[in-house]
């Protein structure tokens, strides 16, 4: 019988303002199962409190408006399609791509 996982390990890569505020490029997290946006946000806030209000909502339920998660550099994740697995990388970036 396989023992159920309690957490999944994911890496969050920070860009732009979150990188400036946290002073780091990468944060490794153990996210409670089943992994959710709120779970990632709460775990990230625990490791990088400086991101609260600068990418992460102050109630730690989600990202602030203006920020998105991208999965492994490929797919941008909407609210309804947040599926991550062990070893994934989440990119925390601004949703404003213009320049």
């Amino acid at each position: 019988m396989t023992e159920a996982r309690e957490t999944v390990s994911v890496r969050v890569e920070l860009f732009g303002t979150p990188r400036i505020h946290s002073g780091t490029n990468v944060v490794d997290l153990a996210v409670p199962c089943p992994p959710s946006r709120g779970g990632v946000v709460a775990a990230l806030a625990g490791k990088c409190p400086a991101l609260v209000g600068h990418g992460l909502k102050t109630d730690l339920t989600d990202l602030e408006e203006g920020y998105v998660f991208n999965l492994n550099g490929l797919a941008f994740l909407g609210e309804a399609d947040f599926f991550i697995k062990e070893g994934d990388s989440l990119l925390l970036i601004s949703s404003q791509a213009g320049g």
């Binding site: 890569e13 860009f15 732009g16 303002t17 990188r19 400036i20 600068h54 602030e64 408006e65 203006g66 920020y67 998105v68 991208n70 492994n72 550099g73 490929l74 797919a75 941008f76 994740l77 909407g78 399609d81 990119l91 970036i93 601004s94 949703s95 404003q96 791509a97 213009g98 320049g99």
Partner: protein, 631 residues
């Protein structure tokens, strides 16, 4: 009349005269201002088939109904002409203090026609609400010749003895009619793309100095003030945080990770030196100060300094403005990881007055030609123009600006240069319609690939914001589907309204409902009723008129495409390794775009569509194209 003057100042350089031409109320309502009204006026004042560098090509500076209201980000103006680089419509935006002065003394637009026979400073002062009090003088500018853009602006202000004058000027590249020369104002802001500075240079106008007295009234000042206060508050929210903290430079590291950072002339889409020239690193090591345009609460501009002590910053200058597009084009695109070199390169472009995108992209094309042994060695003077050679980049930028040696060929832009060099180099001249591509890799941003292929002014990230879909969960950016045509068309229409009112693009997500709120504020300013639906229609009308101008100037279906490299080579690296874009996929998206627009299969605008948009009288008749009704 509120928000507008209902007239344009027309200056004839050949005869040294000026007059005021009325602009119909219907035209103001249907084309709004900025790029939209400018397109209408360009169609009217530009003789069909005009030589872009000849006297029949007008140069227009156009304000907007929002200029002078002090609404955040609204101090902007448009510059339009027929592009010497593309032969099609040229429309650029610039901003800051010049915009309100333009509106005060020139009315809704300044239309410059003809050609001066010697270097000229065009000086305009007065109150457009009382045209008899406006003076237009044609002053000798021979002492300005050869000065950099910054030095010209400062010298003009000193000469006029009144720092309240606002100055638009060209640098040496504009004087030399470099095909992608820019027009500079307010200490280095640029109307950058499409070679507007070359047209100004062809007219022998080295600078335009404007000073106005009286702002135009708005219909409901209290409502405008209240709306502006709320909008300013919203402009400081999370939706603009990127621009307020790092500016557009923030794109470098993200684009690199997503495999969308064009590198070494679009051969690759990731750059091993990206972190060195990332916005985050430049912010940490090179930031001199943050600033912004007049009446802007966002303040996205980042002024950087080089650590190279041998690099003078120029008279009156304390750094160089850095944007993502300059950073990409003078960095990764040329294989340059050294931020000091990129900063110096941007400074050279600004001071000589050249579009950084076209300049960098044309050098990148030349670097590839050099590595393939295709450049004439007698023009190189020993220059090792390889990717990554920073000193060679700096040298060749100077040579382009002054049209020296190889620079004389490159000053024509990558398409024209490739037609001279040949040997297949057209395949890696990374341009559309002659305009060099911005920093968005089309193979890994499929919606943007379509946007760049079809947008009237050529490869462009400002007139089409199709990339927004690619950077969201709405589409799979690495594949093609039937929705892209509509997305691209809607993004062009949205940008057309944004660029006509004129709001800054970075404000766009601060609106709860862009069209609804913009219609409301338009009505507050002008006193004319406007609905969200009408405003959307204006966007569609403006997009169609731009296309119609191009059709009049010889556009064919073949002009809507991408360079062969993007259609024949897959990406070799990064998360998008192995991804390509076939000609069939692009044609499929283009067909969807034409369908979404209600155009024919070969991209022509049917008569019924023209009638529906009120464009039926925009004919090819050269007489009507010289229309201008005296007040």
């Amino acid at each position: 009349m509120y928000g507008y003057h209902g007239k344009a100042l027309v200056v004839d350089l050949t005869n040294r005269t000026h007059r005021w031409d009325a602009i119909d109320t219907d035209a103001l309502r249907e084309f709004i201002g900025g790029i939209g009204l400018g397109t209408y006026l360009l169609y009217r004042y530009c003789q069909a088939g005009a030589d872009p560098l000849g006297p029949d090509n007008p140069l227009l500076f156009v304000g907007s109904p929002l200029v002078g209201t002090r609404l955040t980000t609204s101090s902007k103006f448009a510059v339009l002409t027929k592009s010497p680089l593309t032969g099609f419509i040229a429309d650029s935006l610039s901003s800051s203090h010049l915009a309100p002065e333009l509106k005060k003394c020139c009315g809704d637009a300044l239309v410059i026609v003809g050609q001066a026979n010697s270097p000229t400073l065009l000086r305009i002062e007065g109150d457009a609400t009382n045209p008899e009090r406006v003076t237009v003088s044609f002053e000798d500018a021979s002492t300005l010749a050869g000065l950099t853009a910054t030095d010209k602006e400062l010298t003009v202000k000193e000469r006029l003895g009144d720092r309240r004058y606002r100055v638009a000027c060209i640098g040496p590249a504009g004087e030399a009619q470099v095909k992608f020369a820019s027009i500079s104002n307010d200490g280095g802001r640029q109307a950058g793309r499409c070679g507007l500075g070359a047209v100004m240079g062809s007219k022998n106008v080295l600078a335009v100095a404007l000073r106005g007295y009286q702002a135009v009234e708005v219909a409901e000042p209290e409502s405008v003030r209240a709306f502006g206060k709320d909008l300013s508050r919203r402009s400081l929210g999370a939706a603009t945080e990127k621009y307020r903290n790092l500016g557009t430079m923030a794109n470098v590291a993200v684009f690199n990770r997503l495999g969308t950072l064009p590198t070494r002339n679009f051969r690759e889409s990731t750059f091993e030196g990206a972190e060195q020239v990332s916005g985050e690193e430049l912010h940490r090591k090179h930031l001199h100060r943050n600033t912004g345009c007049a009446n802007c609460t966002i303040g996205c501009e980042r002024i950087l300094v080089s650590r190279d002590k041998n690099h003078g910053q120029g008279r009156g200058k304390s750094g160089v403005r850095m944007e993502y597009e300059s950073l990409f084009a003078l960095g990764p695109l040329c294989g340059i990881p050294d931020p000091d070199i990129v900063i110096r390169a941007a400074s050279i472009c600004d001071e000589l007055g050249m579009d950084t995108i076209s300049a960098g992209a044309t050098v990148a094309w030349a670097m590839e030609c050099f590595e393939r042994g295709l450049l004439p060695t007698e023009d190189l003077g020993g220059l090792e123009l390889k990717f990554g050679n920073g000193e060679a980049l700096l040298q060749v930028l100077e040579d382009m600006g002054y049209r020296r040696g190889l620079g004389n060929l490159l000053a024509e832009g990558s398409r024209a240069a490739a037609s001279v060099v040949g040997h297949g180099s057209e395949a890696w001249a990374m341009q559309v319609k002659g305009l060099e591509m911005p920093g968005y890799e089309p193979r890994s941003l499929k919606t943007m690939a379509l946007g760049m292929a079809v947008t009237p002014r050529g490869a462009c990230h400002n007139r089409s914001s199709a990339y927004e879909a690619d950077f969201s969960h709405r589409v799979d950016r690495l594949s093609v589907d039937e929705r892209r045509g509509r997305i691209a068309a809607e993004s062009e229409d949205f940008e057309a309204v944004l660029d006509s009112l004129i709001w800054c693009k970075f404000l766009r997500r601060a609106f709860h409902d862009f069209y609804e709120e913009s219609a409301q504020v338009y009505a507050m300013v002008t006193g004319w009723e406007m609905t969200a639906g009408e405003l959307r229609r204006c966007g569609e009308r403006i997009s169609n008129l731009k296309k119609l101008f191009n059709i009049r100037e010889g556009w064919t279906r073949a002009d809507d495409s991408l360079p062969p490299r993007t259609l024949e080579e897959t990406l070799p690296d990064g998360v998008a390794a192995g991804v390509g874009l076939t000609r069939e996929e692009l044609d499929y998206m283009i067909a969807g775009y034409y369908q979404a627009r209600g155009w024919t299969e070969d991209g022509q605008i049917p008569e019924g569509k023209l009638e529906e948009l009120g464009l039926a009288d925009f004919t090819w008749d050269t007489e009507s194209s010289r229309m201008g009704k005296p007040v």
